[in-house]
């Protein structure tokens, strides 16, 4: 299969403008007749559905949640990047493009990333117009902060709830289109298959999660905005119900899955507390603006802390190892996520971890609190304020900036992070990999599009902070509504798609048989227990560090686990009722296949880049060693039959505008 990224001609900064100005359009009278299915109602899905509705298409939007407002985009904390240069600190579209390409370790498509940087500015305008209450300065203008991997301040934020506010904005626009009748919303409907007619995506099969009814939905095109697959690791910062099923069902129908092994491990999450743990909670990267990461330098202090004989505040300044500041003086605590996570792993592997399991480091706000306190005291004209006064003032400033995050930490751990440093550890957070798409965000199946985290397109091997919200909304508001016209303009003579076609019947039958199969196994082990075991294998062998030996072993382990699942899983309840265990069973079955593909992908990529760190490929200082000569390509995997090996298709990446350099944050 020859993969064509369909990148338009022209200079990098003109491509999108020129292309947009010359692409095919669909006339308003034709839009009214054309139906589009959007699966997912997070930032990408909701913004796409709303915008397509505004344009006049007939849209059907699906979510497995009880309301489109619940999608996991809502949990994004820190912010959204945009090249506005409101801070006058040298930011530009090119710089955002460059930071994103470099941050992704040169494994993403130049033209897509540049387009992302261009439209980033429109997103902020759009969100403000919707009433998103971004943080503001005293003059009433929008405030910014810094995020990892960059040296400008371009992140817009709404306290630590930016995702919530942006999603509510998109949800409101979607609700308006629903009320106007342009979008029909299907809550509590899970997509379980894509239907292809004459090679084109023409509909989906869904399960009504309340009644269990299997339904057919036909349309001229299908858009998947179904998020990432981080839950393959069981423990992740993703919501409990986030899953790969929509994207995986598309893969089974011939769509290619690109760079599946590129997983983002976020450095600042609350550590695991026990075997019963169901999910991990992120502490926003924005905290690294003010928090300093450290571990005790001396092993005897580490032991004393683990045994409770010493508190972190007892450790003298000179006995602390602020390892990020030491190893990466240019970026310090604001190195990108992959670098920060690996550094934490190194510190813990060397025996400096600070909790009972040895898998935690400190994130300390004491010096920021004192710094802000002094500044506040000064601005209040206080003469020689006491330390206690400074501390009080400083805590107020930190509370205003990060209050909800500190509160969240306190609720979960029972500790007060104003008084004692937070304990943090890396956790799975985001998946850069996803369905392969071309410049139009169209998969290799004509008429099947993927937006947001569900596609692979913009983040390469590592995503920079505050870029997921940007990409989701860029795709949904400003890219797909244009590019889908390239496909739909060729469909204006296609009548309404008939859901009684044999292809729909066959797909419906296959879905019903698959669900019945899960019910009929009647084994002894719960779905959850299989998911946990899969997660452990993935984290151990395909997590922060990977090796050929480990991956090879893990592939076999997953195959065995999958076989065991199909012979011994127990799904209670019935097919035709509200049955969360059945929903989970279908999702975990897909994770059991995706996990193997991730391992195959990680084995193929004999280099270390971004979130993919192969132990065999590292510099003497332990940094990742990329291999641009052999691996400057996108791995797009075809895998419709799991009894055979996945087939690799390569899209070579061309860099005409940036020089491939060793990514250094030293």
């Amino acid at each position: 299969m020859k993969l064509d990224g369909k990148v338009p001609a022209g200079g990098l900064s003109e491509k999108w403008t020129q292309y947009r100005g010359t692409m095919n359009l669909v006339a308003p009278n034709n839009k009214r007749r054309i139906e589009v299915i959007v699966v997912g109602s997070g930032l990408a899905g909701a913004s796409a559905a709303a915008t397509l509705g505004e344009l006049g298409y007939n849209v059907k939007c699906f979510t497995f949640h009880d309301s489109p407002r619940r999608a996991h985009s809502i949990a994004a904390q820190g912010g959204i990047n945009a090249a506005k240069n409101y801070q006058n600190d040298g930011d530009s579209v090119y710089r955002l493009f460059y930071d994103t390409i470099k941050g992704g370790d040169y494994r993403s498509r130049e033209a897509n990333v540049h387009r992302l940087a261009e439209v980033s500015r429109n997103i902020i305008d759009q969100a403000v117009a919707q009433g998103v209450p971004f943080a503001r300065e005293y003059g009433g203008l929008l405030a910014n902060r810094s995020f990892g991997g960059v040296q400008v301040s371009r992140t817009f934020y709404a306290r630590g709830q930016t995702g919530q506010q942006l999603l509510i904005g998109a949800y409101q626009s979607l609700s308006r289109q629903i009320s106007m009748g342009n979008v029909t919303m299907y809550n509590r409907h899970e997509m379980l298959d894509v239907v292809k007619v004459d090679g084109k995506a023409r509909g989906i099969i869904t399960r009504n999660l309340v009644t269990g009814e299997i339904e057919r939905h036909a349309a001229h095109a299908v858009v998947l905005g179904t998020g990432g697959y981080g839950n393959v690791f069981y423990l992740s910062t993703n919501a409990m119900n986030s899953n790969v099923t929509a994207a995986w069902r598309a893969t089974k129908r011939g769509a290619l899955m690109a760079n599946p092994c590129f997983t983002q491990i976020h450095p600042t999450c609350i550590p695991v507390s026990g075997e019963y743990q169901s999910k991990l909670t992120l502490m926003s990267e924005s905290l690294r603006n003010d928090g300093r990461v450290w571990v005790p330098a001396k092993k005897e202090d580490v032991m004393a802390i683990r045994e409770g004989r010493l508190k972190p505040t007892d450790i003298a300044e000179e006995d602390r190892d602020y390892y990020l500041e030491r190893r990466y003086p240019a970026f310090g605590n604001l190195v990108p996520r992959d670098v920060a996570s690996r550094a934490a792993k190194v510190a813990c592997d060397e025996g400096h971890g600070v909790n009972a399991t040895g898998l935690a480091v400190y994130l300390d706000f004491a010096s920021a609190i004192m710094r802000y306190g002094k500044s506040e005291a000064h601005s209040k004209g206080m003469v020689s304020p006491s330390d206690a006064e400074i501390l009080e003032l400083g805590e107020k400033v930190v509370e205003a900036k990060y209050g909800n995050l500190f509160e969240m930490y306190a609720k979960i751990t029972g500790e007060n992070p104003y008084k004692t440093p937070m304990m943090i550890f890396p956790a799975v957070h985001y998946t850069m990999g996803g369905l392969w798409v071309d410049y139009n965000l169209e998969t290799n199946i004509p008429g099947l599009f993927a937006v947001g985290e569900a596609n692979f397109s913009d983040h390469g091997a590592n995503r920079l902070g505050a870029s997921a919200l940007m990409q989701g909304l860029a795709d949904g508001y400003f890219v797909l509504p244009y590019t889908i016209g390239q496909f739909l303009s060729g469909e204006i003579r296609t009548p309404k798609i008939d859901d009684q076609l044999p292809e729909f019947e066959a797909a419906e039958k296959a879905v019903k048989e698959r669900l019945a199969q899960f019910m009929n196994i009647k084994g002894k082990q719960s779905v959850e227990s299989f998911h946990r075991r899969l997660g452990k294998i993935m984290w151990e062998y395909c997590g922060m560090s990977r090796s050929e030996e480990g991956l090879t072993k893990a592939r076999k382990m997953i195959q065995d686990l999958r076989a065991e699942f199909y012979s011994d899983v127990f799904v209670p309840g019935d097919l035709n009722e509200y049955n969360p265990e059945l929903e989970k069973a279908a999702r975990v079955a897909d994770f059991l296949e995706l996990g193997e593909l991730m391992i195959v992908d990680a084995l193929d990529r004999n280099e270390s880049c971004g979130g993919h760190f192969r132990e065999e490929y590292r510099t003497p200082e332990g940094e990742a060693m990329r291999n641009d000569k052999d691996y400057t390509y996108v791995s797009a995997w075809e895998w419709t039959d799991v009894t055979k090996d996945p087939v690799l298709h390569k899209e070579e990446l061309k860099f005409d505008n940036v020089e491939l350099k060793t990514r250094s944050y030293k």
Partner: protein, 252 residues
């Protein structure tokens, strides 16, 4: 710690329900939902049907988790969703009663799961600013005073969980509705449609069968995001002003 659970079990909307009693072994670091996970694993091991409850982000922001714990929506801790409630706040040997959010406008789907789509319809009736993609001016074109933006934000932090309805003896949705109206009406962008918005949304709230507000303020006390009843006062004022000043009546 050993706990006795009295859990509401109900097969579906049409059938009645009743309490069932279970014992479960938990530990104090678990979240409340992780404790229920343990119960469900126990039930599945006995080949029994697990307790259905809704949950998703498990970090207090998506608004999916619900349930009334010992008489309090989201349990006894102030400003805390069920998913953020940890077992360290309960005692060994305690009996915990768990019920769904109860309101005619939130019909039970199964066990602790209720249908809250009435909230979506309230938003659809006017909880938005009418701006199409691409119509926006520059983000800094309209300065908004920091404190005003912050107050609008406080209202906007509502997670749409429905605890306010469950807490209210009238099952009123005034806190939810007023938080959304306040968020949008306070911002200059939302001003243009302010009076129509308040009329339409309050009207839709009535259509959905939610009760009237009689200033009990249990909603604020139980709200996991501590949304203030000031929003209700603001919306009452705006509603009267809009009804008196406008020739237009509600569109629905």
């Amino acid at each position: 710690m050993k706990l006795n659970l009295k859990v509401w079990r109900q097969k579906g909307a049409a059938t009645g329900g009743k309490f069932e009693t279970y014992t479960v072994e938990a530990n104090e670091h678990m979240s409340f939902l992780e404790m229920l996970d343990v119960l469900n694993e126990q039930l599945i091991a006995e080949q029994k049907e697990p307790v259905s409850f809704e949950h998703d982000c498990r970090e207090g922001i998506c608004g999916t988790c619900s349930m009334v714990i010992n008489g309090h929506p989201h349990g006894p801790m102030k400003g805390t969703t069920t998913c953020q409630l940890h077992m360290r706040h309960f005692n060994d040997g305690e009996t915990i009663t768990i019920e769904p959010f109860r309101s005619n406008s939130f019909p039970v789907i199964k066990d602790l799961v209720v249908d809250r789509s009435s909230f979506d319809r309230i938003i659809q009736s006017g909880g938005y600013i009418s701006v199409n993609t691409g119509q926006a001016q520059d983000g800094n074109a309209i300065p908004i005073e920091k404190d005003l933006a912050s107050e609008a934000f406080d209202a906007a932090t509502c997670i749409g969980c429905g605890a306010c309805v469950a807490a209210c003896p009238n099952a009123s949705a005034m806190l939810f509705t007023s938080a959304k109206i306040s968020h949008l009406n306070m911002m200059p962008q939302g001003e243009v449609e302010a009076s129509q918005r308040v009329l339409n949304m309050v009207n839709q709230m009535d259509v959905e069968g939610f009760g009237a507000c009689s200033n009990v303020t249990a909603c604020e006390a139980e709200c996991p995001k501590e949304i203030s009843v000031k929003n209700i006062a603001r919306v009452n004022r705006e509603y009267f002003a809009a009804s008196l000043a406008s020739e237009k009546t509600s569109s629905k």
